[in-house]
């Protein structure tokens, strides 16, 4: 797919294109997230190119499949930077994949950006910011803390049960920060259960917690598992509110959980019920292109591509370091997942969080915090 680059000067500038690398999980365990992110990215790239590109140059995506394997992610990052000479790499979708290419990015001085890697220590390691690492999503502690506060303050919860995806650092990270904040708010965690990715049967842990008394369940994870878990909880007669995070954001959640989707809340970047014209427009074009409503991954992928294009357009020259500097200097970037600025100290986006609540399978609450 990569065209030969004739006499390409350093920095991925050929005659008329700007090369952006995509290093995504297109097959393997977490292909869902990779594929969904790429769908958003490609939509955004098409829009940019149709509108004339960036500074008159078309964006060229060089896309590779890392098979959900971290070593492959490292190798492909190296290939993108050393051979394809891209100015920036988008992806992988997971924190593990991102961590596997930090050193490559720092060594080759090419920025890497993820729309969905939420691990706290990704952009900041041992108190030092990783210069070439960026993201457009919240980090784990932000969402976990917010959810804990929402439980204590809005839902008046004193006791909580945590059910986490133990094979997933995103879920574990959220659980840990929820745990800390909920306790700080004076609450108690009365039980902690775990499942693994791909699990569809939650009956045993739900039956177990059914015997305990608690006010809320915090179930951080993705809609694929959360959907069936919520459904089974309601079927077993567990009525306590269930809280989650942006991994819930997909039309599939409502499909899988069915009528059980009541008293379910999650933290998110934006609400699909938002009336902001940018959001409405995005949802419409995405639906036209892909036949279904966008999920958080789609939206974050879309924003990440636009974010990168924005930085490239502002960069003093088409080199990794220049693009990196432009990224770090991003102010009030208006994406569909919210308007944000990059915090130069942490490379995390500073953006507001939205609470979405469901009643009878429909969105009933949208609160910004």
């Amino acid at each position: 797919s990569a065209k030969p680059v004739a006499n390409a000067p350093e920095g991925g500038e050929s005659a008329d294109t700007i090369k952006i690398g995509l290093n995504y999980e297109l097959s393997g365990d977490v292909a869902t997230y990779g594929q969904a992110s790429v769908a958003g990215i490609e939509l955004a790239a098409k829009e940019i190119n149709d509108a004339g590109g960036v500074n008159g140059k078309q964006i060229e995506l060089v896309k590779y499949d890392n098979k959900s394997d971290t070593a492959e992610a490292t190798t492909l990052a190296t290939k993108l930077m050393a051979q394809d000479k891209v100015v920036a790499v988008i992806g992988p979708a997971t924190s593990g994949g991102m961590k596997a290419q930090i050193q490559v990015a720092e060594k080759n001085q090419v920025p890497i950006v993820s729309g969905s890697s939420t691990a706290d220590d990704l952009t900041v390691t041992n108190g030092k910011v990783n210069e070439y690492v960026f993201r457009t999503c919240f980090n784990d502690s932000f969402q976990g803390t917010s959810a804990a506060n929402y439980s204590s303050e809005k839902l008046g919860a004193k006791t909580a049960v945590i059910i986490k995806d133990n094979s997933n650092d995103y879920s574990k990270g959220l659980a840990a920060s929820f745990d800390a904040q909920f306790k700080a708010n004076g609450g108690t965690i009365v039980g902690e259960e775990a499942y693994a990715k791909g699990e569809r049967n939650f009956n045993s842990i739900l039956t177990k917690i059914k015997g305990q008394s608690f006010d809320v369940i915090y179930l951080p994870g993705y809609y694929e598992e959360a959907g069936p878990a919520i459904k089974q909880a309601r079927e077993l007669g567990i009525t306590a509110p269930i809280l989650g995070a942006d991994g819930y954001d997909s039309p599939k959640l409502a499909e899988a959980a069915g009528a059980g989707l009541t008293d379910v809340y999650f933290t998110n970047h934006y609400s699909s019920a938002d009336t902001d014209p940018k959001v409405v427009e995005f949802i419409k074009t995405f639906k036209d292109a892909n036949g279904e409503e966008p999920s958080a991954f789609n939206a974050l992928g879309y924003d990440t591509m636009k974010f990168v294009a924005d930085a490239v357009s502002r960069a003093s020259e088409l080199t990794g370091p220049a693009v990196k500097d432009a990224m770090a200097a991003t102010k009030d970037f208006a994406g569909v997942t919210g308007t944000f600025s990059v915090d130069p100290e942490t490379h995390n986006p500073v953006k507001s969080i939205v609470f979405i609540g469901y009643k009878d399978g429909k969105i009933a609450v949208t609160e910004k915090a």
């Binding site: 797919s1 990569a2 297109l26 097959s27 365990d29 896309k63 590779y64 499949d65 098979k67 394997d69 971290t70 070593a71 490292t74 190798t75 492909l76 190296t78 290939k79 930077m81 050393a82 051979q83 924190s95 593990g96 961590k99 596997a100 930090i102 050193q103 490559v104 060594k107 080759n108 691990a119 220590d121 390691t125 133990n166 094979s167 997933n168 650092d169 574990k172 990270g173």
Partner: protein
């Protein structure tokens, strides 16, 4: 008695290997081999060590193991944790050794009771073992659980890859062409007959399982040190399958086959990268086609003959990958 053949062995096997070493080294220094190519070479070397060590267990001793990634995991985490605590070459060497030995120890302890299982029952037991290792790593504090261990000092370079890969292959080959290896092969061929001529089959099986585990752990250490980020998922069931694929593709009971298959798969994988979405479909298709047309693997079981070993003492010295 060993004097002359050793000189010949050195000439016929040492010289080409040395040439390979120098060529890659020069390529690296002249910038002809970029980081990406080096990463590919690294994967290749790790896969060779993994495949050769699994071949020892499954191809030569006939013990069907589906858990080689478990040994790799032990080695990787041991090396990772030790080099993080001691980011020096000494720490690295200690890490590799501890990783290998720890893995060998686990192999020994689990092998003792489970190796009386046969065929698929053993496969399930080894698979279970690897899963247990993975789940434990996923839940331990000091391994950083599912988030994985990042920032492992990258101490592996071409020198180390060369020494460790060539060293492992030679040591395993030496093992196989000794009385220990022949006992193992006898077990594979016919366990009852082997017992009846005095082979302690339990010992033979546990020994090659332990040795295989050691080198599996070593490969894990190489992986951790070069790719500097490991997480439990990396060493799942599919990794074990990947290794088994190399072994069978090369030929059960053929060390040179394992090496060739590892190289072939590295090439296939690299070529297929450009087909992004179709990549894995094509890979799977190729795998099926190769197996359908060469079910015995690329090399069959050639070169297992102890004849090659015997010919060391004859006029014509043996080549490393000599086919009969």
């Amino acid at each position: 008695m060993t004097g002359k053949p050793m000189v010949r062995t050195l000439l016929t096997q040492g010289v080409p290997l040395l040439a390979l070493y120098v060529v890659v080294l020069a390529g690296l220094n002249l910038g002809l081999i970029d980081d990406y190519l080096m990463a590919t070479i690294a994967t290749l070397c790790i896969n060779i060590v993994l495949a050769v060590s699994l071949n020892l267990i499954t191809g030569f001793t006939g013990q069907f193991s589906l858990g080689h990634a478990g040994f790799m995991a032990i080695g990787a985490y041991a090396t990772g944790l030790i080099t993080i605590a001691m980011p020096t070459v000494l720490g690295f060497i200690v890490g590799l050794l501890v990783g290998g030995l720890l893995s060998a120890l686990v192999g020994f302890l689990i092998g003792l009771p489970t190796l009386r299982l046969r065929g698929d029952y053993l496969a399930i037991a080894t698979l279970g073992l690897a899963e247990i290792i993975r789940i434990v790593l996923n839940n331990l504090e000091f391994t950083n659980g599912a988030a994985g261990l990042a920032g492992i000092p990258q101490l592996m370079d071409w020198n180390w890859f060369f020494i460790l890969t060539v060293g492992s292959v030679i040591l395993i080959r030496n093992f196989l062409r000794s009385r220990h290896g022949r006992d193992a092969i006898a077990v594979r061929e016919d366990e009852i007959a082997a017992e009846s001529i005095g082979v302690d089959t339990t010992r033979a099986k546990v020994l090659s399982f332990t040795v295989g585990a050691f080198f599996g752990g070593l490969a894990g250490g190489m992986y951790a040190s070069y790719f500097y980020f490991i997480k439990p998922d990396t060493f799942g069931f599919l990794k074990s399958i990947d290794i088994l694929v190399i072994v069978v593709l090369g030929g059960l009971g053929s060390l040179s086959g394992s090496v060739i298959a590892a190289i072939l798969l590295a090439i296939i994988s690299t070529v297929l990268q450009q087909f992004t979405e179709l990549r894995m479909i094509l890979y799977a298709l190729l795998l099926v086609i190769i197996m359908v047309f060469r079910p015995q693997g690329l090399m069959g079981s050639r070169e297992i003959s102890l004849k090659v070993f015997g010919s060391l003492f004859k006029r014509k010295p043996a080549e490393p990958g000599e086919a009969r």
